[in-house]
Symmetry: C2
């Protein structure tokens, strides 16, 4: 497999993009692909998982750690940075092993100095980060090297630290950063080990007092006398602990690195790479006939793996991963709908963490439902810890008035709870793991069903229940009635609640008693909902075979995204909401009916799938990264892989190509696209390779794009690792090994 991407040269306009493309991470933190000497104006970010802060009325977002990789060079008192005049510069990411490397040469009066640095976020030790920083010169020269912690953290809606206290002791630099609006703190510790190669081998160097004081930086300074053939190498270890991980985070930081010396670097690098080898054994795809697609998918899987929570059960994946504070570091339905499947079939313990995260969020979901006058569990649209909803009632700024616009994502996107249930069902079905049921999972599903029941209304004289005043997946149409997707998912949730109760019954009377103690009025509830799902109105195909997205959708102006785009009076104006150009038209942001058909394709004929694809696709802007995948899935189900291919590639290349939208007004919205990454995997494996699991058995119904010769991929199922290969006319499944843990 090709295992790296790189970029040469410097282009200021690519700083945002490259920060994402060259991201490294380990689920605990993501570290943007910026230079070691960069400061916050170049969007340096070390984004931490699961720890948030809110300043004033700004968005509540994850905090960034002080930059423990901050390292810079001074030549004759002047700091060396990368710009247009830099002699040469390149950045590279080895995505097989999560090693990000940069190489920069500066031409100085005495000759050329070349800096090569490599850094990793350790995949086995989540709190550990390592960097190797090497200087080589082609002439005699003296540079000062400053290696420490930069506390001037880049924030989108910060600053999130009330205070940062630095300390330096025995060559170890520490920063204790106190979060503004909580009692939390983030501690960062860095140790430096610097050596120079001489004829006698690597020699120690001494620390000098720096004359290069920078604001909010604490660093060690080294005077580097460089000459050809005598490079200087700095090895740094950094540890991060927050009060979420440890009662004594500063102590934990020290503990993690004080004992690490120069030589430990190689050992730790090895264990890191072994972990990656294991991941790729379960993940790497081979696409014979399309190396670009193969690279795109594997690169996408890299991105999923560097943000997968492994250090703690009960964390999930945010919409922009750990690539920045973008989108508030919140968990959306992306996880369940697009991301979970890849982990389910490679590292089910990670998928379990996603479900656990939702189980832990039940408290917030119950509270949210109550606050809107509903029963049960109304999950957060933008979920932070304990299911708190970070979504504001004003999620868009009007470009004309610069006023916040009332949006209904938080209060009307009712389908979110069903996505949570879908994620649970998916996990249960493919792992057979019933352990979550009594850990709150069954209760979660039941409370989601209770939520949908409380949404149901019956119009006078009508027989069926309806659901009014929602936003479906397509966010351009707010406050609609009987959204096809939402009604379908509501019925699904109610039905699945009944299944879940039966599963618990099947575990035996103790289990059932336990559930009864967890769930209010369980038996009555079950009997009340036993025939409820069929009484919820479902949108049926019309005479032309098309399912109406919501009541009245067909009466809206029938036009195209291109035509609607021409009506924009400002390039950044919002297309939806009260006044948007798409609002009163049939132009939709993303798959909606097609999302439903993608999930429930078994319930419809190929003909219906096709007619709906043909109807909705030309009306879809694909303005969300969640859209292309759904269309590609349905295109595969109607046997048109070549129609699916561009959608698949759109998902697969979202991050490797970059170039996505980076800014909304003054707010940074860039970052990686985990949902697209997961969607690409789903398209490839469940779409083109046609994987499905029927009664625990692997089934393959390949439907390859014409230019594909074969797809090979590993698959974990029921504790066994398989290797699968499909071609246009053959399929093979080979058992590689039984995995050590039950589901892993």
């Amino acid at each position: 497999m090709k295992d790296y991407i790189e970029r040469s040269g410097y282009d200021a306009s690519l700083i945002g993009d490259d920060g994402n493309r060259f991201l490294i991470g380990n689920g605990y933190a993501g570290i943007r692909g910026t230079m070691e000497e960069d400061r916050k104006d170049r969007m340096v970010g070390i984004t931490l998982a699961g720890i948030y802060d809110q300043v004033g009325k700004g968005w509540r977002e994850p905090v960034n750690a002080p930059n423990f990789f901050y390292t810079c060079l001074y030549h004759q008192g002047k700091k060396l940075v990368v710009d247009e005049k830099t002699e040469s510069h390149s950045q590279k990411l080895n995505y097989r092993y999560g090693i990000r490397e940069r190489r920069t040469s500066w031409k100085l009066s005495e000759g050329i100095v070349t800096l090569t640095s490599r850094r990793i976020a350790h995949m086995v030790e989540p709190n550990l980060f390592m960097m190797e920083y090497e200087l080589e010169a082609d002439g005699e020269m003296t540079l000062n090297l400053s290696a420490g912690i930069d506390g001037d953290v880049w924030d989108i809606h910060g600053p999130h630290y009330a205070q940062i206290m630095f300390s330096r002791e025995d060559g170890i630099i520490n920063a204790n950063a106190y979060i503004q609006n909580s009692n939390d703190k983030v501690c960062v510790t860095r140790s430096n080990h610097i050596r120079q190669k001489t004829k006698a081998g690597y020699e120690f160097m001494t620390v000098i007092e720096s004359s290069h004081k920078e604001e909010q930086v604490s660093a060690q300074c080294f005077e580097c006398h460089l000459s050809p053939g005598s490079p200087i190498v700095l090895r740094s270890y950094a540890a991060v602990f927050s009060s979420k991980d440890s009662n004594t985070p500063a102590k934990s930081c020290y503990g993690a690195i004080t004992d690490l010396g120069w030589k430990d670097y190689d050992r730790l690098l090895k264990s890191h790479m072994e972990k990656w080898d294991d991941i790729w054994d379960r993940s790497e795809v081979v696409i014979d006939g399309d190396s670009e697609a193969q690279e795109a998918v594997n690169y996408s899987l890299y991105h999923l793996n560097i943000i997968a929570p492994r250090h703690k059960q009960g964390l999930s994946i945010a919409a922009r991963g750990l690539s920045a504070q973008t989108y508030k570091g919140a968990v959306f339905w992306d996880t369940e709908m697009f991301i979970e499947d890849y982990f389910l079939f490679s590292q089910p313990e990670v998928a379990r963490s996603f479900v656990k995260y939702r189980v832990d969020g039940l408290k917030g979901a119950l509270k949210k439902a109550r606050s809107y006058g509903f029963e049960g569990a109304f999950y957060a649209w933008e979920s932070q810890e304990e299911g708190e909803d970070a979504c504001s009632d004003y999620n868009v700024i009007d470009v004309f008035t610069e006023r916040p616009v009332r949006t209904y994502f938080r209060d009307k996107q009712m389908h979110i709870s069903s996505a949570v249930v879908w994620g649970m069902k998916n996990y249960m079905e493919h792992t057979g793991d019933t352990s979550l049921l009594l850990e709150g999972g069954a209760r979660m599903v039941i409370e989601c069903a209770r939520f949908y029941r409380s949404l149901l209304i019956k119009r006078y004289g009508h027989q069926q229940y309806e659901i009014h005043d929602v936003i479906g997946p397509d966010e351009y149409h707010e406050r609609v009635n009987n959204n096809a997707y939402t009604n379908k998912m509501a019925a699904f949730t109610v039905d699945y609640a009944l299944e879940v109760v039966q599963m618990v019954r099947d575990l035996g009377p103790d289990a059932y008693d336990e559930l009864k103690s967890q769930v209010k009025d369980l038996e009555n509830f079950v009997s009340e909902i036993s025939d409820l799902a069929p009484r919820i109105l479902q949108k049926e195909p019309n005479a032309a075979g098309v399912i109406e997205q919501h009541d009245g959708y067909f009466k809206l102006e029938d036009t195209t995204p291109a035509k609607v785009k021409k009506r924009l009076k400002h390039p950044k104006e919002y297309w939806g909401g009260g006044h948007g150009v798409a609002t009163d038209t049939q132009v939709i942001k993303q798959a909606d009916v097609i999302a439903m058909l993608s999930l429930f394709h078994d319930s419809y004929t190929k003909d219906i799938l096709e007619r709906n694809f043909d109807y909705y696709e030309p009306r879809t802007e694909h303005g969300s990264s969640l859209s292309a995948c759904m269309y590609a899935m349905v295109a595969c189900k109607i046997g048109k892989p070549d129609l699916a291919y561009p959608f698949f590639m759109k998902s697969g290349t979202a991050d490797i190509r970059g170039g996505g939208k980076q800014w909304a007004g003054l707010v940074y919205i860039g970052g990686t696209h985990p949902a697209s990454a997961g969607g690409a995997w789903k398209n490839l494996i469940q779409g083109f390779a046609g994987l499905s699991i029927v009664s625990g058995q692997i089934q393959l119904d390949p439907c390859l794009p014409e230019h594909f010769k074969a797809i090979e991929f590993p698959l974990v199922l029921s504790g066994k690792l398989h290797r699968i290969k499909v071609t246009h006319d053959s399929t093979s499944v080979q058992l590689v090994k039984r995995l050590s843990k039950e589901y892993v």
Copy 2:
């Protein structure tokens, strides 16, 4: 009674305002207070009742007739107009007799010429209009006088005529104006009778060929040799008929005026004035202690009378009367809520026409309900002929983008049908006239009840019916649930439908059989709704005694109109809708809960009325002319007439003071305010004088503002004219006479 208003001098900025203040009319047409020589740039308008046209996507609006009073003077080839340099100029309206007079003097090289004109819209002959136009000079001079028809009609969303054909024959000028988008036509005919006073008496003058051709004008021209003591007087008759009034409108026009000569003028003026005397016998109010209020109310009643349809049953009153094409000449709930009462107690046959108009509109209302998936009758928010709804889905222009904004006045202001029912009930109750019941009135009420029934929804597990997704009277809050006013009116409608059916039963079995033949499935429907009203959720006062306007209203930002106004970024931006400054606050446009309490004050304690007044008044912008009246009514009910007084005066002086909003961007929205006029009467008579009719008996519970000594007013009830006087501590009711017709 003071019986005139006047204005001296010329101010270009008052042309719009004065067009309304000096309006004359007779229910068939309204003629704006402009000068005879004015053309459309000065907003000359002769607005016709009940005949509409729509051009392209512009608003459908009433047509204006060609200007049959177009008359001008030329001095040495130059047209005389009024401007800043004019020697003297004044305009006067005698509102006792509906005679509008103007007097203008121009200083010419030969001396001063003074023009005095008087014109009327005949109150007995609705198609007849008359003008006397007199010239007097203080020196010898020759002027040319041109007297004809100006076909260059002022339109707001025109032009509405495809073609205008002029003809002149035997001194009679005729214009046939063919409406753009229908087969309708408007015919206008004018005859001129001109005489000069000499020592021998009034002498005939001859017509000359004019050299003063103007585009789209057809006129007779007279050479006027003026000298002191020898004035020239032109008497003109004009007739208007449209194809709505006559199969042969041109012939009808000729027929109306060919036989009228110079001398008929005095006779016709007399009959016109006698009609006004009769109207004032039934209308004139005397307020001892407040001549300003007295004048304002009588002037308001003048305005109601000049637009009251008397020539044809089944016409109503438009929101801006006949003062222009403003607001599409459409009938709003203003008629039933604010205007009907005055007519009910003075000229009940006019009130009957309002109800008949709604009965005739049932067809449109049934169609509208069906088009939105409801049953029964959903009346037009902006009603034109046959109940067609002129209201657009885009009733507001965004000032920032200049794009139309989706508003929900047409589809969500569900309370309109209940206003129609309220109007019917009010008419029935106070006249005892059951004749409308089987003319469609009973069916109308029943279909309105059926409409509300079809709006009802029941949330799962809830016992009561709710009504979701409406706009209440306060238009700033769109798509709300359980608006207190709407839910109350829905229950009222359902109950009244049951009453109406009982009334028909009481008329005997034939009547009931007739109703059964008119109404689909009557008996089942009646039995189904027999216990429905109490099952519709009603908003009850909270612990503080305040009734929440709609679900969630109390959770909105609590602020004031003044504070919200400061947030405007453009003086003309719309406060409501998706993005308005008031939308997410408790600031409301107009009385909403207070409107409900005003109608149902008997059902609440004084304390509740007061607490709601105190809560809502500071949060109300009073941005609609319908607001002040409701607040004044409730203030009277809580025994605070001095609190009511400024609201009463706001309603009463809306037209006499003028100065209201004239333009919304480029669209003229000025005109008279019949609802305010009717509201002022209601405040005075039902508020301050405390009139109510209990079991057919006049009851008075006066509650006079401190500075009032007494109110005297006539009242028609059950075919009898009474004279009523109330003081702070006494009331008297005196029977004046029995009226000739049963209800008149």
